[in-house]
Amino acid sequence: MNLKNSTSQTQYEEEINVSTNSGLPPKVAALSPTEWLKANLFSNAFNSVLTVLSTAAILLIIRGLLSFIFNPLRQWSATATNMRLLMTQAYPEHQYARIWVSLGFLLFLTGVSLAFWRAGRRVQLSQVGKRLLAIGAFILLATLLAPFSSKATIIWLIVGAFIVGLGLLLKPAHEDKTISSLTLLSGAFLLAILSLWVVPYGHHSYLSTRTPKILAEPGTVAMTTKLPWTIMFLVAVCSYFLGAFIREKIDETRSKAVLSVTWLISPLFLLFLVLRDPDFDTGHLFSTDIPIFLFFSIVGSVLLLWLTRPDVGEKGRVISAAILFVGFATFLFQMLMIVRILTLVLAFFALAAPTFSGQKPARIRYAKVWIGSMVILCWLITAINTPSTAKVPGDFFIGGFAITLMIFFFTMVLAFPLGVLLALARTSKFPIFRMISTTFIEFIRGVPLITILIFFSVMVPLFLPDGMDLTEIAAVTIAFIIFEAAYLAENVRGGLQSVTRGQHEAAEAVGMTNSQKTFFIVLPQALRVAIPPMVGQIIATFKETGLLAIIGIFDFLYIARSVIPGQTEYMGSTRENLLFVSLVYLVICFAMSKASQRVEKRVGLGER
């Protein structure tokens, strides 16, 4: 309270001082450090006591943390050596090229997208200088506080002094001198990658020959990853410049749309690359998959081209309903799964056709979207049907951070549309939809996530009919999707309710159908309102993946908590690993919440 008062008062005084100057907006005079200290920390006796006490507490905590981290008893090599285990568990080494290719592709997309969306902002060099000064000072202070050996103290003091010196050098730079935040970021990455060429990070490998055992191999991670990482860095930088180059040449809105779609579907393709056999079962592909795909593409496009004619009327609705019925009926008979799924998707497209009906270009666009969805679906189904060549010891061929990311990604991509549908159903006019959706949401929200996870990993496989099986990972992912969809639905519903009655009436008054109103007017506004709570939910989901450890999936946390401390060399290194894992979670969640703040600002543009 007091702090706030005093600052607002100083601001007030400043405003009065400068309000006599006409024309230019008032410049807030910068306070000198001592003035700032006085105004914010020592404005009265009580605040001074608070300042002193909390500074002491903070120093004590830092000292405690540092003496934990730098205690010679700590086995940090347990974390460093097991980095590969932490990231991918037991993914076979000779298949690592697949992961590098995937990562390279993602970085390529990132680079191009950063250029297209003009990400990054200009940072003043003097600001950078101030930051460096602060960081350097912190390192110096921390070094003096930490119980280092004298040699380590000297090294860290030199590092700190170097950073401080750099800061002092940059600080007086003119305020016109700026640097892109992207340059700073890539500079930091470059330093990290260069360290691979200098510092011999080691790793653990599993030797299955002779008597199986795990061996620590110093220097291997640095040796095997320094070249790929350098290439990755070059890919990212080059693709940024490539993006900046072609941005000027082609229609921007259209290529942004293409990029967004690529982002959405590329993980599915990459997953295939990482997990599955790159060699297709060509016989099956040509005899079954491609003919079915062609049939649905052609028949579906013809049908949709007809259904999107403005003058179809009632006949169209009857036919769409009939297809939906056939789609459900296919589940009663022996049939390829691909046919069932495609029929249902076709029914969905047919039902939505009147919403998007129009003149020729609009109809052709709708048919194209249909064919595009066919391609993606067929690829996915083929990918899932193809067995994996990445054979590894243990239950599942990938684990660690990779599985955490994978489950998180699939949960987000699938829970989001499901959540929107649930929210729409819950606010719909049809009582049956409302009832189903409300029951579902309330039921899921009333049960702890861990219960749902255990149910899906243990019980559901028992209930499945013969011939159908679900890997534990898939079952658990479904559990996550269902759980998150219920929560996201509530966020979206909040957004839907915030759309005023006037908006509904205006849309109705210009003759929009219910689905047009929902799609063009209500949902865009609702989702915008729902972004902040949804991001909160997404961050929570990411942290909740830690529960996988409890049901015994080899996720990031499980490996850190149980697997590494079980290695003979690293008995009792649990705390180090847990600290590392917390740090990774912290960094990622922090980045997500920062990113969401920027997204919020961007989407708020048109409103006022």
Binding site: F356, A506, A509, E607
Partner: protein, 261 residues
């Protein structure tokens, strides 16, 4: 003088005596719970006619006008709009709505779309016009309401008067036969009222059938062909502006006029 001239020129090029009936209400009643908001409303509006609905607050003006494009449902009686009877049949409602434009007191523009998209959205998806044509139409409508330079802004960046003119353009983009206005100037600052009224006058001049709820007596005197006075959910008196403002017959009308004039 000038006032009389405008009036005669508005009347001059129309032949209201022989015009077709376009809105017919017969014995329309509506209840909100136990409260009767409309009580046996019977009225006929002819093509190209400009009707101003007056009445004290809570008299049911909005309720009536909203029944005509089915934003509210009447419970008794019949409403026919351009030969189509309003009932629960969805197709009739969609048909009527695409022929009846409505302008709201609070504008109700779509805040997430630019002005151009606000106007062209419905023509593209409801009228099934090609996008290029719809956008061209949006530009010419903006020209008509006097703000061609605002096409790429968002509604939140416009003044109230500009927003209401965009709302009028949005309704006109559907090429309606009838325009309904529910207190279009009540949420505006005095200096913006005129710009909106001018657009409405021009619209009346061009022969649009209009039904206007307003408290702008100047507009009623100058532009209306017919004034309907409502109270307690009933139409108490109907007549030409001359009749209405100079020698109303009903006691309640006189009381109302004495309060506001």
């Amino acid at each position: 003088m000038t006032e009389n001239e405008t009036k005669s020129s508005i009347r001059g090029d129309r032949d209201l005596a022989n015009a077709q009936d376009i809105i017919v209400c017969e014995g329309v009643s509506k209840w909100f719970g136990d409260f009767q908001a409309l009580n046996n409303v019977t009225a006929t509006i002819k093509e190209q006619e400009v009707v101003v609905v007056l009445g004290p607050s809570g008299s049911g003006k909005s309720t009536w006008i909203r029944c005509i494009n089915r934003l509210e449902q009447h419970q008794e009686g019949r409403i026919m709009v351009d030969g189509v009877e309003l009932s629960n049949d969805l197709r009739n409602i969609e048909k009527v709505r695409s022929e009846v434009g409505m302008v709201f007191q609070m504008f109700n523009l779509f805040p997430h779309l630019t002005v151009r998209d606000n106007i062209s959205l419905a023509p593209i998806w409801v009228r099934k016009k090609p996008r290029a044509e719809a956008e061209e139409q949006a530009s010419s409508l903006l020209e008509r309401v006097g703000i061609p330079e605002q096409a790429d802004k968002f509604p939140g960046q416009l003044s109230g008067g500009q927003q209401q003119r965009v709302a009028i353009a949005r309704a006109l983009a559907m090429e309606p036969k009838i325009m309904l206005f529910d207190e279009p100037t009540s949420a505006l600052d005095p200096e913006m009222i005129k710009e909106v009224l001018d657009v409405m006058k021009e619209l009346a001049l061009s022969g649009m059938t209009m039904m206007v709820v307003t408290h702008e007596m100047g507009f009623a005197k100058e532009v209306a062909d017919k004034i309907m006075f409502m109270e307690g959910g009933q139409i108490v008196e109907t007549g030409t502006p001359e009749h209405f403002f100079t020698n109303p017959t009903e006691e309640r009308t006189k009381l109302f006029l004495s309060q506001i004039l």
